[in-house]
C-alpha cells in the first residue's frame, strides 16, 4: 500500500536512477514486477523451477541492457518481452521433442459457439483445496496451443492490459481480443470437466 501523500515513484525515474548505479532503485523495480512475471512464466514454462529461472534471467538481462530501454515504451512491457523470450527459449530447450505430445491439439471446429455448455459449481475454492484447484487450472492451460496459452498468461494471469499484451506479442489489439476470446472459450471448456456440475 502506498502511503497517502507520497506519490509512488514511477518506473522511468527508477530506471534512470538504476542506470546511474543506484541498486536500490533496481530492486524496487524487482519487487514491483517479480510476482506478475513469475505467474505468467509459470503458466508458459509449466514448472516452478523453470519459472524461477526465467524471472532471474529476465532481471539480469534487463539490468544488463537497461541503457537500451526506450522511454517511449512502458517498462513492464519491455520487461515482459524479455521474460517471454526467455520462457520460450527455455520451453524450446527443455521440451524439444516432448512438447508435441503434451500439446496434442483437440479439434474444436465450428468456431466456438456455446452449445451444451456445462454450468460450474459456485465457488470451487470452498469445495476443493488450493493445490487441487491450482493443478486443475494448470492442467487446463497446458492443453491450449502455445499462442493461446501466452495470451491468457499475459492478460488473465499476469493481468496486463489488452494494449500491453498486444505490445508484448507484437500483435494488434483487435487480434489480441479475438485470440483471447477463443483461448478463453477453449480453456473454459477444458475446465468444465473438473469444475462442472457433473464432476
Amino acid at each position: 500500500m502506498p502511503e497517502s501523500g507520497t506519490a509512488v515513484e514511477d518506473d522511468l525515474a527508477l530506471v534512470r536512477r538504476a542506470c546511474s548505479g543506484d541498486r536500490e532503485a533496481f530492486y524496487t523495480l524487482v519487487s514491483r514486477y517479480e510476482r506478475g512475471l513469475f505467474r505468467s512464466a509459470l503458466a508458459i514454462t509449466r514448472n516452478q523451477a523453470d519459472a524461477e529461472e526465467v524471472v532471474q534471467e529476465t532481471f539480469l538481462r534487463a539490468y544488463e541492457h537497461l541503457n537500451q530501454f526506450r522511454a517511449e515504451a512502458k517498462f513492464q512491457t519491455w520487461l515482459t518481452q524479455i521474460a517471454l523470450n526467455t520462457a520460450r527459449m527455455k520451453l524450446r530447450k527443455a521440451h524439444a521433442g516432448l512438447w508435441e505430445s503434451l500439446d496434442e491439439p483437440r479439434a474444436t471446429e465450428d468456431g466456438f459457439l456455446p452449445r451444451d455448455v456445462a454450468e460450474w459449481r459456485e465457488n470451487p475454492e470452498q469445495r476443493l483445496g488450493r493445490v487441487e484447484i491450482e493443478t486443475i487450472l494448470h492442467h487446463a492451460l497446458q492443453g491450449l496451443p502455445p499462442g493461446y496459452r501466452e495470451v491468457v498468461a499475459l492478460r488473465d494471469i499476469q493481468m496486463l492490459s489488452t494494449q500491453e499484451t498486444a505490445d508484448v506479442l507484437g500483435m494488434s489489439v483487435a487480434n489480441v481480443k479475438t485470440r483471447l476470446l477463443r483461448a478463453r472459450l477453449q480453456l473454459r471448456e477444458r475446465l468444465a470437466g473438473p469444475l462442472g456440475k457433473r464432476a
Binding site: E52, T108, D110, G147, M159, T162, M171, T178, L191
Partner: protein, 236 residues
C-alpha cells in the same frame, strides 16, 4: 443479437470496452439464451480463478533466491550500462573485430570483381529460367500452417503464431498451406525451406498468409517454386 455477436460483445465486456449502445441487446440475449448465459458466467468465474494470486504464486523462498542471484549477478563487471562508454555494448563488441578480420584477410579487389561478374551472370540465367517457368506456373494463396497445429487452428489459421510454426517446422513436422476450402496441402522440401526463410525474415507474429507459385503437375506435396508472405485482405 445472435450468439456470435454475443460472444464478440462478451470479449469487449470482459475488457471493459463494451459500448453503452450494445448493453441492452446484450442483456436481452443473455436472458433469452441459456448457453450464452452459462458461457459468460463460467468465463467470468474462470477469469476470477486465474487472476487469484493464491494460484501460480511464487513458492516460498523464491523471492530470496532471486535477490541472491541478482546480488551475485549485479556484482559482476556489469557496471550499470549508462556508466559504460557508449560503444561497449557487450554483444556487438565481441563480434565486430572478428568480422573485420575476416573481411580484411585475403579479399583482394580483383577477386571481388570476378565474384560480382559471376553473380550478375547467375541473375541473368535465373531470369531466363523464371520466364520459361512462369509460362506454365500456377499461383495459390492460403494460410501457412504445419500439420501439427492444423487441427488446433483449423477454424482460425490466422492465429497460428510464427514462432510456433518455426518450432514445428524445425522439429520435422510437415508444413504446408491451408487453402480457402480449409484443406491442408503439404509443401515439398523447397517450399518448406522457403516458408521457414520467409517467416524468419518477417516480423510478423501471426497472420501468416502466403502466396505460392507452384510448378504444374505437382504430386501429393505442392511443388513450391516461389513463396511470399502477404496480406490476406490484399490477396482476396
Amino acid at each position: 443479437m445472435d450468439c456470435h455477436e454475443f460472444l464478440a460483445q462478451m470479449a469487449e465486456l470482459l475488457d471493459g470496452d463494451m459500448a453503452a449502445s450494445a448493453a441492452d441487446a446484450f442483456d436481452r440475449h443473455r436472458q433469452a439464451c441459456a448457453h450464452c448465459r452459462t458461457a459468460l458466467a463460467t468465463v467470468e468465474q474462470m477469469r476470477r480463478l486465474y487472476a487469484d494470486e493464491r494460484f501460480f504464486a511464487m513458492p516460498e523462498g523464491a523471492s530470496e533466491r532471486l535477490r541472491q542471484s541478482l546480488a551475485a549477478g549485479l556484482e559482476e563487471p556489469l557496471a550499470p550500462a549508462a556508466l559504460r562508454p557508449a560503444a561497449a555494448v557487450p554483444s556487438s563488441a565481441a563480434a565486430a573485430p572478428r568480422r573485420r578480420g575476416w573481411l580484411g584477410f585475403g579479399a583482394d579487389t580483383g577477386r571481388l570483381r570476378a565474384l560480382a561478374w559471376a553473380a550478375a551472370a547467375a541473375v541473368v540465367v535465373l531470369a531466363v529460367g523464371v520466364a520459361r517457368w512462369q509460362a506454365s506456373a500456377s499461383t495459390t494463396s492460403g494460410w501457412l500452417v504445419d500439420s501439427h497445429c492444423y487441427a488446433a487452428y483449423k477454424s482460425h489459421p490466422g492465429d497460428h503464431p510464427s514462432d510456433c510454426f518455426i518450432k514445428c517446422a524445425t522439429s520435422g513436422k510437415t508444413v504446408g498451406i491451408e487453402d480457402a476450402q480449409g484443406r491442408f496441402h503439404p509443401f515439398n522440401a523447397r517450399g518448406r525451406a522457403q516458408a521457414i526463410a520467409a517467416v524468419e525474415a518477417s516480423h510478423r507474429k501471426d497472420h501468416l498468409w502466403v502466396t505460392v507459385k507452384t510448378a504444374p503437375a505437382s504430386g501429393p506435396a505442392l511443388d513450391v517454386v516461389a513463396l511470399t508472405l502477404g496480406d490476406p485482405a490484399a490477396a482476396r
